[in-house]
Symmetry: C2
Subunit: 598 residues, 2 copies
């Protein structure tokens, strides 16, 4: 019964009208990003998501993955066939390096495609999603040999990848990890230990599974400075690179979890498995963060993606379900009641979700473009600015868009009333699926600490000062423009609160780090509102200009942008003041109770 249609028109508005990605066509990846080509790619990706991934979303949730006695795991009915279609269509290599068989399109375009795939079937989209993270780590830290051996097959999708970090006693604090790596004398290592929560750890979709595993080489220092990254294939490739002997790594069990049942979350046992070092010994955390940052942006995309499909279904229901009459007089007098979309409180929920989704889509693609520029630009200043933006926005996108994505899924479910609680309508699955995005790849509290404790201070605050300057300049430039002043006014107010919070942190957190920890989650959300508000103000500018100069081909779409931008400023931006008030209340009452008193 659920519906899904990829929001191609909105993506195109962001890529073409807001970002104007074609102006980067001097960079190889952007050579073929004319509006026509991008529209064709996105249209095809959208149809693929709708036709192939989406029909398996509810069935995959119900059936789940199954582990058999021999340790093998089968994915839900239909997944294998759909994965083959995905692989054959080449979607896995969309933005991968052409040197290894990729199509070499910008990551910006791939991020849009990932949104569609994750909306249509988040649990399924994780299989190729984790592969992309592993590809990124090998591309940047692997030896030439490793790249030649693994990348072509992973990009083609006949091999998939995983990330193995967490152990039963250690998640956030990787310094505690115990998995061992013993040199075998031939350049390889024997990996021994147990990893948990390994998404796509074992399954039947690919011929081989390439595990990237954090472990401690015998004699390495304690803590995070003694951790190395290893590549541990399920089947050891033979000399020709074909699948060879089974390695000593196996799935011990599948976790029973709240959602994403279509993805196999495995306990992985390494019993002297053969692995090879990736990057330098004891520098595994650095390599791991390559995967992690990629993955964190991908998780932010999941937050948006689930929010988007939940929104689309809530809208469809709100248009069809009749119940009560509009407070301002019957809107469908020919029916026994009005469709519930006439009721302000239903609108409140739909508009809130819409404002976060469209703003979030812009922020993700804006940030993905920075990622491409960081990798490709010939201009050192541009690369530096892009890197600054990426560092700042990665925790914001991960933390804020997944928190809001979950809240939005809950709101969309609420639109359905009692039916929202019933499995067949599909809404409760979105809530269960969206929930994990707040937790994995660094729980959102960790994202907030990364922002406040690390990213703010980097390079003497260069990144955050640039952001303030950019947003402030935009507000100033359009302050007198009466079409835009409603937006710049709201944005400026939010920016002022964010700057005040930043100043408060500078004055109060250096000497008392608990004040930083106590402020962190509020600060991250305050930052997110300003970042989203900036996107909205810029989208309003584009919409107003296109409406003003008569170049609009779809004026209703642009008018809706202006309304939604206004709603964002009316209803979401006011939260910045509450965040500031909480932040500047400090940590005293938060930290005063003895642990025993709770």
């Amino acid at each position: 019964m659920p519906v899904y249609q990829a929001p191609v028109a909105d993506t195109l508005f962001v890529l073409n009208d807001l970002l104007g990605i074609e102006r980067h066509s001097n960079l190889a990846a952007f050579a073929e990003t004319s509006p026509d080509i991008v529209e064709a790619v996105l249209g095809e990706a959208g149809r693929f998501a709708e036709d192939v991934f989406f029909p398996l979303n509810q069935t995959g949730d119900r059936e789940g993955c199954h582990r058999h006695e021999d340790g093998s795991v089968t994915t839900p009915t239909g997944f294998k066939q759909a994965y083959n279609q995905f692989r054959e269509a080449g979607w896995g290599g969309l933005s991968a390096d052409p040197a290894y068989g990729g199509q070499g399109l910008p990551h910006t375009v791939a991020a849009a495609v990932n949104e569609y795939l994750s909306s249509a079937n988040m649990a399924f989209a994780m299989y190729p999603g984790l592969t992309r993270g592993a590809i990124a780590a090998l591309e940047q830290h692997g030896t030439q040999e490793q790249k030649q051996l693994y990348l072509p097959k992973m990009i083609e999708g006949i091999w998939t990848g995983t990330m193995n970090l967490t152990e039963p006693h250690c998640g956030t604090d990787l310094g505690l990890l115990r998995t061992k790596a013993a040199p075998a004398g031939d350049g390889s290592y024997r990996i021994t230990g147990q990893k948990i929560f390994i998404s796509a750890g074992e399954h039947d979709l690919s011929d081989n599974i390439i595990h990237l595993v954090l472990a401690r080489i015998d004699g390495a220092p304690e803590g995070v400075k003694g951790i190395s990254l290893f590549v541990v294939p399920k089947f050891l490739p033979d000399e020709a690179g074909a699948v060879g002997a089974r390695n000593a790594v196996s799935c011990g069990s599948i976790e029973e979890k709240m959602g994403i049942h279509g993805n196999a979350t495995c306990v992985m046992n390494y019993d002297g498995a053969t692995g090879w070092l990736v990057g330098e010994a004891d520098k595994g955390l650095r390599a791991m963060f390559t995967m992690m940052n990629e993955a964190r942006l991908g998780v932010g995309v999941q937050g948006l993606a689930v929010s988007e499909i939940a929104y689309q279904n809530a809208v469809a229901y709100a248009r069809e379900r009749i119940q009560g009459r509009s407070l301002s007089g019957a809107k469908a007098p020919e029916k026994r009641a009005d469709p519930i979309i006439v009721h302000p409180d239903i609108r409140r929920m739909l508009m809130t979700i819409r404002a976060v989704n469209e703003g979030g889509r812009a922020l993700i693609l804006w940030t993905a473009l920075k990622g491409d520029l960081f990798h490709l630009s010939q201009d050192a200043k541009e690369r530096e600015a892009a890197d600054d933006w990426l560092g700042l926005m990665t925790p914001v996108i991960k933390g804020v868009l997944t928190d809001k994505g979950f809240d939005n899924a809950v709101m969309a479910q609420q639109v359905y009333g009692g039916h929202g609680y019933i499995a067949e309508w599909g809404m409760e699955q979105y809530v269960r699926d969206a929930r994990i995005a707040q937790i994995y790849e660094g729980a959102n509290g960790i994202q907030a600490l990364d922002l406040v404790g690390r990213k703010l201070a980097l390079n003497n605050g260069r990144a955050v000062q640039s952001f303030f300057a950019e947003v402030g300049a935009f507000c100033e430039a359009h302050r007198a423009d009466e079409r835009l002043s409603p937006f710049t006014k709201g944005l400026k107010k939010g920016l002022n609160d964010l700057q005040a919070a930043t100043l408060w942190l500078m004055g109060n957190a250096m000497g008392k780090p608990d004040n930083a920890g106590a402020a962190s989650t509020d600060y991250m959300h305050l930052f997110g509102l300003v970042a989203l508000g900036y996107m909205w103000a810029r989208m309003a500018k584009v919409a107003a200009e296109k409406l003003g100069d008569g170049s609009a081909t779809d004026p209703a779409f642009l008018e809706a942008k202006l309304v939604t931008a206004r709603f964002f400023m009316d209803r979401l931006m006011p939260e910045t003041a509450a965040h500031l008030a909480r932040i500047s209340s400090g940590s005293t009452s938060m930290m005063a109770l003895d642990a025993a008193v709770f």
Copy 2:
């Protein structure tokens, strides 16, 4: 693995120190509410919840209820035996009328007991919970005969009850309901139609199930003015009141739902079932609201209850799980890492939940006491004031405590990191269970409309003006008291925002009702914060006094009250300003989009 311990000490603090219920001992129900007796009752209830209900919470969730081919339904393993223990111990009749076999204790005490039972096993506690609602409706609207026939067995618990309102096409808008009642000529009616979402509609716990059913008598007016309430027993009682012939009512299916799997949510088919009118013909909504108001407070209790058990488990985990080091230096240097309760962001979550729970418990019991006074007081003014408070606070308690209860369950789950997403830890069940409380008995958006559209204006705003006067007077009386000024200051700020929002509504919603609808949810939450803040300020006063005059037997408990009150003012109360800003932004941007554009 989950834990639960009934918070008896906190309940006693509210009942004895905050409310001083013993001072009402002139009223029959309060004759036996000395601190000793109340402590004994609550202690026993707590142990019963812990020992009998709680062990079946996770198993009941996993196993769920099953419908068999003959339409019978079995509850999860152990439920029937536990229900028998519940019945034999007399917990179902705790506050019921002694004339029909009840124990006649105040509803205030019963509300506390319900919290414990709902924490321990929400899905299970609903079986007796719905019975209490049906008892209330029959007590107030049934004939003497009906009372004699049904009440003793329902109070004893050998018969249970249900509420049958919703139909597939009609939930909120009961005017659309289609179930028919045809007079049989002998004073009874033949009821025909389908009801959905009927909690405890069919099960194996009791000898008979007494359905209270809304239906339309042949020829009755359309809309809500043609609805009547009927009592429709599963088995027709014979002349001696014993279970007789099977009535033509049956469970067509059990809904597959997100949570509360231990409760059978049934589609109920009425195929010419025999029923009898309860109360006057066509006045069924009024009788239904008796059940409904009772039920709405009960649902608010569920919000608190799930939040409380989620809190207790999150605290236990945060004390045990070691990960990372305190920002202010190692707290457990003998271990490889500190327990995560040292981290401010973990504290933020725990303290937030704690502040809502303890404030919510006070607000529920304060309101339950008003309910008892409304029924029992000899003083007309006191009854009027109690009724005003009840009318105002019923939607606030239902809407706010269930929204916050859900948010809290989500936060408690977040404390567990990845383990929170795994079923065996139990946290994800609390999230799934808590979710329904925001939806049923009138979705929270409906609570908000009830508050803004109905309760505010009743009797020219008498209730809300009394509330403002009471809270304002408290702030004024303690403004100069330096022990209390931190609390009265925060409360006064919240009250000012609430009054400003109320004035805004008076000025802007009369002529434009969409402004009321657009404001409603924010207004309800703003109201809730002030109501909770009032509870916190009053609790702080009690704690400060007891600490000051040396009468404290547990000073750590009272100091914690002061800290938590301060946290409430620091971290929760600032949200009132954001609510006010959103409310006064009006409905323009919310309502501007054409339904087709979404």
